[in-house]
């Protein structure tokens, strides 16, 4: 109970928690959270258990736990599912796609943020306002026009002359289209705004150019934001479903989320394998979370969502 004394004042105060009423409310809150944790964890646990069951067992027994469970069965189930689902290629593809996406997006958005925060050429305030406006633009409207423009990039539509590159079935539309993100630009602008101008002034006097200042001052001072945005970009790439689903048609180029979706439409996949597929599909993101939990859970503070 001594933990109560360290509690910062909020809805419940230290004084409240000394009384019975306060304690009841506190433990009621605690119970609510436990119930919510069960709601979030239960489907996940069910997925793991069911994926380890035998197909027959799923339909005959109503038991929650798999009846036969040993290390061997676990290994067999994982290997069988892996062989049937053939996710290997798409995992490699997604890895490649996500890394390139990460490099392109961070480069583009950081340079843009640098311009709008520190360089501020004439007219930049207005252009930045325009960029912020795009955040509010619903994306659905540009879905079809974008698709049309991919057919003879960079033209808006197929011209009579037949020039322009067909970007369909390549990763380029995903990379380039995913590279500009008004929110990321704003995030970097805010981060760069926090860097004192006097440092830049000193560096300028020492003869550093713009590019040099960017790499020796701006980047090292904004590492937390860069990490936060990197996590967002990578996990976004690993869960990007709809764009790749439309654009990539060749099976060998398929990305993981689209592959998962196609698995869902495949009638031959039994429920246990299906759930195993979902687990495999979630592992990359779980790993990202496990490594960068600190940045994800505390990350939004860095971004400073304006409210």
């Amino acid at each position: 109970m001594s933990k109560f004394e360290n509690k910062t004042t909020g809805l419940l105060t230290n004084v409240d928690l000394k009384g019975t009423k306060g304690k009841i409310i506190y433990w009621f809150f605690f119970a609510v959270l436990i119930v919510c944790c069960i709601i979030t964890l239960f489907p996940a646990v069910w997925t793991v258990f069911t994926s380890l069951k035998d197909p027959k067992e799923i339909y005959t027994s109503t038991k929650f736990f798999p009846e036969h469970l040993s290390w061997n069965i676990f290994v067999t189930r994982v290997c069988d599912s892996w062989n049937q689902l053939k996710f290997g290629r798409s995992i490699l593809n997604t890895f490649y796609y996500s890394i390139v996406q990460w490099v392109i997006k961070l480069t583009v958005c950081m340079f843009a943020g640098y311009t709008f925060s520190k360089l501020k050429p004439k007219g930049s305030t207005m252009v930045f306002a325009l960029i912020l406006w795009t955040m509010m633009m619903p994306g659905q409207m540009r879905m079809v026009p974008n698709y049309i423009s991919y057919m003879s990039f960079p033209f808006a539509s197929k011209t009579e002359f037949g020039i322009g590159i067909n970007l369909l079935d390549t990763y380029w539309p995903l990379w380039l289209g995913g590279a500009v993100d008004a929110f990321a630009i704003m995030l970097f602008k805010n981060a760069f705004d926090g860097i004192s101008n006097s440092i830049i002034e000193a560096a300028t006097i020492d003869g550093a150019g713009k590019l040099r200042i960017f790499f020796i001052i701006m980047v090292p001072l904004c590492v937390p934001i860069i990490i936060y945005e990197s996590i967002m970009t990578l996990s976004g790439a690993w869960s990007n479903f709809f764009g790749p689903y439309l654009i990539i048609q060749t099976t060998t180029k398929q990305l993981l989320p689209a592959k998962i979706f196609l698995m869902g439409n495949d009638g031959t996949v039994k429920q246990n394998t299906y759930l195993m597929g979902l687990i495999i599909g979630s592992i990359p993101q779980l790993l990202i979370f496990a490594f960068f939990k600190k940045y994800i859970m505390g990350g939004i503070n860095v971004g400073g969502v304006k409210g």
């Binding site: 605690f30 489907p43 619903p138 423009s149 599909g281």
Partner: protein, 305 residues
Amino acid sequence: MSNTEGKTKKPKRGSYFKKSFFSSWLFALPALILMYLFIWRPTVMGFVWSMFKMKGYKPQYFIGMQNYIEVVKDTQFIPLFRNTLKYVLWSIVIGFLPPVLLAVIVNEMVHFKQKIMTFLYLPAIIPAIAVSLLWKQMYDPTSSGLLNSLLIKMGFSPYQWLNDKNFTILWIIVSMTWKSFPGAMLLYYSALQNVSQDLYEAATIDGAGMIRRAWYVTRPQIMGVLILNFVRQIIGVFQVMEQPLAMTGGGPDGASASLGYQLYRYGFVTQRVGHAMALGTIIFVFLIIITIFYFRLNKKLEESL
């Protein structure tokens, strides 16, 4: 963040980069080109081409409002619109308050706070498409689905879940809420962390009880984030498309098809591209109205503070 610093030094702004107008813009050029190609141009072209006769994906000739008339006169349009509103309403009813309340409660915790947060955050980590398919399995109308097996264990008969015409949308929204509440909760939580302790203490000294503190201290402090998220949720759910695509295919009998799903079908399945863009413009207009409404509301709020 520290925008204020930039403002106090206003006269000096940009002084050390005086002669470099073009090279300064050069840094933003990639972003601007990509933004033009992938966001600004398609938005405008979507509007322009919505008034064109399309042959496949090729614009042919100007036909005025013909596409719009055909989209709106389609017998499916009114039901689709109603479905979309249902999505939005259900998501507000069951998806809006829980993250707020949870954030408030988590903020009060002293026991296992970090562990609870981690567990609660789990659904946000799983890719959206995997969540849709997972819930599709849980809603399985046979006894192999999780929810039906629970019902059977408790002695009820199995329920149709997604096949129940009246509530398909509700069940889809439940799965979407499961996926999205941790992110929203984290957002509110960080807003709550910024609420000053002194305000609570002052209110306590003035004799305000818990409920009054919640209403008069917490609520106004997080109102900005609340409204922002409210509007973002409406805008997001109004465009719902992947979930019906993955979970129901718009069924049963089109009961879960939304405007966004119809746009996808026009654009990529039934090849009525002109209709797709007309529908896109209609969705766009609706959402812009909501956005303008949000800015009005936000302005009022900022004035009242």
